[in-house]
Subunit: 628 residues, 2 copies
């Protein structure tokens, strides 16, 4: 059973992308009733007791054994027909690629271009093109049908206890429904309380939704592209992140080949891709913020809109008048985009062109249905700076911009901090919901202390779990390398794992009707000593199995009624099973029963026997006393 | 600067104990005014700007370059004179060591006994011996003086902002004082709201306190001792855990040589040692719970009291009548001690002898000042079982037992869960404080989800941070191997790190007057590009430095005004410094200043120059574009 996985792990060492299902899982598809053309992917985990368990699966075709992956061809454009069928868009000859799009890189370092090209689409004047405009027009898009079915995973399974779950949780005003209908998705989008990041030029994306009445999502940042790295290596970073559960990926690439790298990533990405356009714009002006202007920024927006980027981080809330508010901070401005715009404003003594041109930016993004991720350029970078005037002044401006973007028909989410101590987290969500009309919140952590560089995936998972519970719709991961250096592939996985934990913990606490089903499934497997099921139901079957096998390697132990922590005689779960059997008899007898010693001793004897067969050897291997 | 550390790391590979200070730190001692005999150890971190920063330091003499460590001799009995001076105790010929104390191990596997022996002490009838009895008598013990000074670290430094901090935090009823006086320590102990685990037969321990009006503490579990492992290896596990910040250590050893192993650990431990006596008692009856009785348990308590164990986990709240309440749980009883007692009760159809003999247990523990850690044998082992009737019924009984122990003069803390979703955590603290008269709470996590075996140090750090904030006094760590196998030394460090983060985050959120000083120090170092200071002020200087050096290895980069995440042109912190300088001029000028381009450009030019010198090469090494 380990074989296929170890093979995959060797592949991972090469620049090829990681393919194949997780151990014990297979990709299945499910279509909502009456919509056979909407094929929603799920990951089905096979259990040793014959049951199966389905989980939400953002990993795309890469984990589907029935799909042949060819990164040079890109993924199938699953949404193309839907977009065409809706109409209201036109195909046109896109902006020509210029040398500066790739940082003016010479032939020597020029990366191989993505061969399969498609003429870009854009919305026609007066016609609804964004999911927000369509929703307002009362239209239920195929994306909405897809998302409703996707979000409903496990709800049927949990239907009986659904109400109990909901009553049980504390949602702080969120209203997670027992069942998600396409109409509910439409209404949440129309209301601006959820977004569907889905550029019409990224038809390869599998529709997903970000909003506090849906499953809590996580984002993984990749990029920081390399001159010497192959495009496949960049694509692999994205594939690796979604394999472990990233719902969206931000490409923060800079430097040479930035356009080409992004093209390869988007054409091969089944999840929405976000970017920070100011990074590329800065490259086009030799990295000097002072040289930035509207023309180069506008050119960059159109370039990326045509490529299919699904959401843009735009730091339009960093106003000239707010910059001095950061002067007394311990860590000043820690957002790259924020500091770039601050430098621009100060050097020109002018209001931010992103703020002044915000309407024009909306007009461009609307035509392609690129969602806003309004950046918090003044977010706190330390505990001392949390919730200060600079941060909240910008948040108020983001609220003002949200209304403008909505009027223009654009979808909007709001970025949040950062570094915030536990007792100051909740007010961030409350103020964001109030100022921004409940537009989805998208936070980085927050880190609840500054003192643990190299462990900031943990410091931030604490804050992320809490802020997700309070109503944040998407959590942007932080890796162990934060503050120290570039994350490598192991850091990416560590970051994704910490955030899958935080997001699921948030769904549990909010009372999501289906969230606890997975906890119950894995705990039942644990109690019944179904080790393989416990591994396969976990977030990371490979590591769970590896940790177990480190002390009890033998296949036989996958059936053992104990583990190396306690050994057979101490095994509380085994004893509990006897307690349960006993209690059952009690209930039958309606009082203290009268088991014979023989009856009681039976379970232990079986265990001890099993242990004598193999125990000693195992524990000597592990320097562990046979007596345990 | 790396040299001494790398040498230590080689030592770590051998069975020797890890010695020597952390990089950039040295052990210093400080005596409270008028008490030169009370030498409180601190870790002083030297900063590159000439300042120093002191942190609380439970690592003992092992990190003191001026102390020669000899594990065969044990640590100096720093408290012996204090205990003798108080009087009220007698030395006597202790219980003789029996073969069954070491699991009846044959000569072949018998571990080397600890050579230095001391006749045990016990309290005299009618004389105050426990810190609780002494506190009630109005006596301020040397331990209390020591603890007050130890807890005050950083408070003078933070004095100016102390009030601000307190107002700033949310303590949920805790009352952390601006300054800790010996009288405050005495009153908290007399009130039962804090305990000082300090067996009179463990004079080697450096006094510490557990209570919600003091710094949040963490415990690390070691043990699961090995036939083939040397005693030094067991001692090393303890030394390694306290090196990274464990405040107490529980020895959960079982099997052979259990008595001898514990002796070596206690004689070499500067932190309180806790145990679960039922584990050894079970060994004495061949591992069969059914054979347990009061006599063997009593014999084990006395054995361990004489050795110097500082606190006992006793599952006296697992009553016969509660066991059937676990029958419908998903994971039943997951506490080892709890399941052992449940099996005993069921098999004998009798009330727990721990419950019925509780008064006798108190009388024994009082004589040696062993503190109670009333075990939660019915704690939930899964999200589904959290906060159920079985758990709370036991908690109510623990409250009843707390009053009895207090009446007998014993110090008490209460153990808590376990597996609890975020929204069900707070009520655990509220109910514990109410039922148990504010006796200190000591929780295991809790884990906020069941779905991440191999990452349970993270799932539980989320719950631990929150429950610590709500008022839990000590957090028992969980390692990545939880549910899967035996933790190794890396797991121990990972667990301690995750819990140091949770405990500090809790102190910050409670508004501890000195907690934020360390966050401010490290963030200031970060902002000022004092890389070495950022590493040395962090919880794990070795790993922080290693992560940084992975991308920017050169010594020169320790001075660089950027890191590999953004590179020089994107460095937000550098730009912020310019913003700050600019804002300063603004304030001077009382309006928009008029910096020349030359002025503004200066900082960037310096950076770019520094970057040209070494940047490209670095980034090519790291497959990172020189342009960044």
């Amino acid at each position: 059973m380990n074989r296929p996985d170890s093979i995959r792990h060797r592949l991972i060492q090469s620049p090829q992308v990681t393919t194949g299902p997780l151990i014990g899982s297979r990709k299945v598809h499910s279509a909502p009733e009456g919509n056979p053309h909407v094929q929603v992917p799920l990951r089905e985990i096979a259990l040793s007791n014959g049951e199966t368990f389905k989980v939400y699966d953002p990993s795309g075709p890469y984990t589907d054994d029935n799909v042949k992956i060819d990164v040079k061809r890109g993924l199938d454009p699953v949404r193309s027909e839907w977009i065409a069928a809706r109409g209201g868009v036109e195909s046109y000859e896109g902006r020509a690629i210029k040398p500066e799009d790739n940082g003016g890189v010479g032939d020597k370092h020029l990366a191989e271009a993505f061969k399969v090209t498609r003429a870009p689409l854009r919305g026609l004047p007066g016609k609804p093109v964004t999911q927000l405009e369509l929703a307002r027009a009362g239209i239920v898009t195929d994306e909405m049908v897809y998302i409703a079915h996707r979000e409903n995973i496990g709800r049927q399974h949990a239907a009986d206890e659904a109400q109990a779950r909901l009553d049980d949780g504390e949602s702080f005003g969120a209203a997670v429904p027992d069942f998600v209908t396409p109409e509910f998705v439409r209404d949440e989008v129309a209301r601006g309380r959820a977004i569907i990041p889905a550029n019409i030029n990224h038809p390869e994306s599998e529709p997903m939704i970000i909003g506090r009445n849906f499953l809590t999502k996580i984002n993984a940042n990749i990029g920081n592209s390399a001159v010497t790295s192959s495009v496949e290596e960049e694509v692999e970073k994205m594939v690796w992140a979604i394999r472990w559960g990233a719902d969206t990926v931000m490409d923060l690439s800079t430097g040479r080949n930035i356009h080409t790298t992004r093209e390869w990533i988007i054409r091969n990405s089944p999840v929405p891709i976000g970017t920070v356009p100011i990074y590329q714009a800065l490259e086009k002006v030799d990295g000097d913020p002072v040289k930035l202007d509207w023309e180069v920024y506008k050119d960059t927006l159109i370039e990326q809109c045509e490529q299919g980027v699904d959401y843009f981080t735009i730091h339009a809330g960093v106003r000239l008048g707010y910059i001095h508010l950061t002067a007394d901070r311990i860590t000043g401005i820690v957002s790259r985009g924020g500091s770039i715009m601050a430098k621009w404003c100060l050097s020109r003594h002018k209001e931010s062109f992103l703020y002044e041109r915000f309407g024009d930016i909306c007009d461009i993004m609307r035509k392609y249905d690129v969602s806003f991720s309004l950046g918090d350029g003044l977010r706190p970078g330390s505990i001392a700076d949390a919730n200060d005037r600079a941060q909240f002044a910008e948040l108020e401006t983001l609220g003002e911009l949200t209304k403008i973007a909505w009027d223009k028909g654009c979808q909007v989410m709001i970025e949040g901090p950062g570094h915030v101590p536990m007792h100051k987290i909740k007010v961030n969500v409350e103020k964001q919901l109030k100022e921004c009309g409940e537009a989805p919140f998208y936070t980085l952590g927050p880190l609840v202390t500054d003192i643990a560089p190299a462990y900031d995936h943990i410091t931030s998972a604490i804050g992320a779990g809490m802020i997700g519970w309070f109503g944040t719709a998407m959590l942007c991961y932080v890796t162990p390398k934060e503050h120290l250096g570039l994350p490598d592939r192991n850091d990416v996985k560590d970051g994704v794992m910490a955030y899958k934990i935080a997001a699921h913990a948030a769904d549990l606490a909010k009372g999501h009707p289906a969230a606890q089903a997975r906890d119950d499934a894995i705990s039942t497997a644990r109690f019944e000593f179904r080790w393989e099921d416990q591994f396969n139901l976990s977030l990371d079957p490979d590591t769970a199995r590896q940790f177990h096998d480190a002390t009890l390697p033998k296949e036989a132990h996958k059936l053992a009624h104990f583990c190396s922590m306690c050994g057979p005689k101490f095994c509380s779960m085994e004893i509990t099973q006897q307690v349960r059997d006993y209690a059952a008899k009690l209930n039958d007898a309606g009082g203290i029963g009268n088991l014979t010693d023989a009856e009681r001793q039976k379970g232990m004897d079986e265990m001890s026997e099993k242990f004598r067969e193999m125990g000693s050897e195992v524990y000597v291997d592990q320097n562990d006393p046979p007596r345990r």
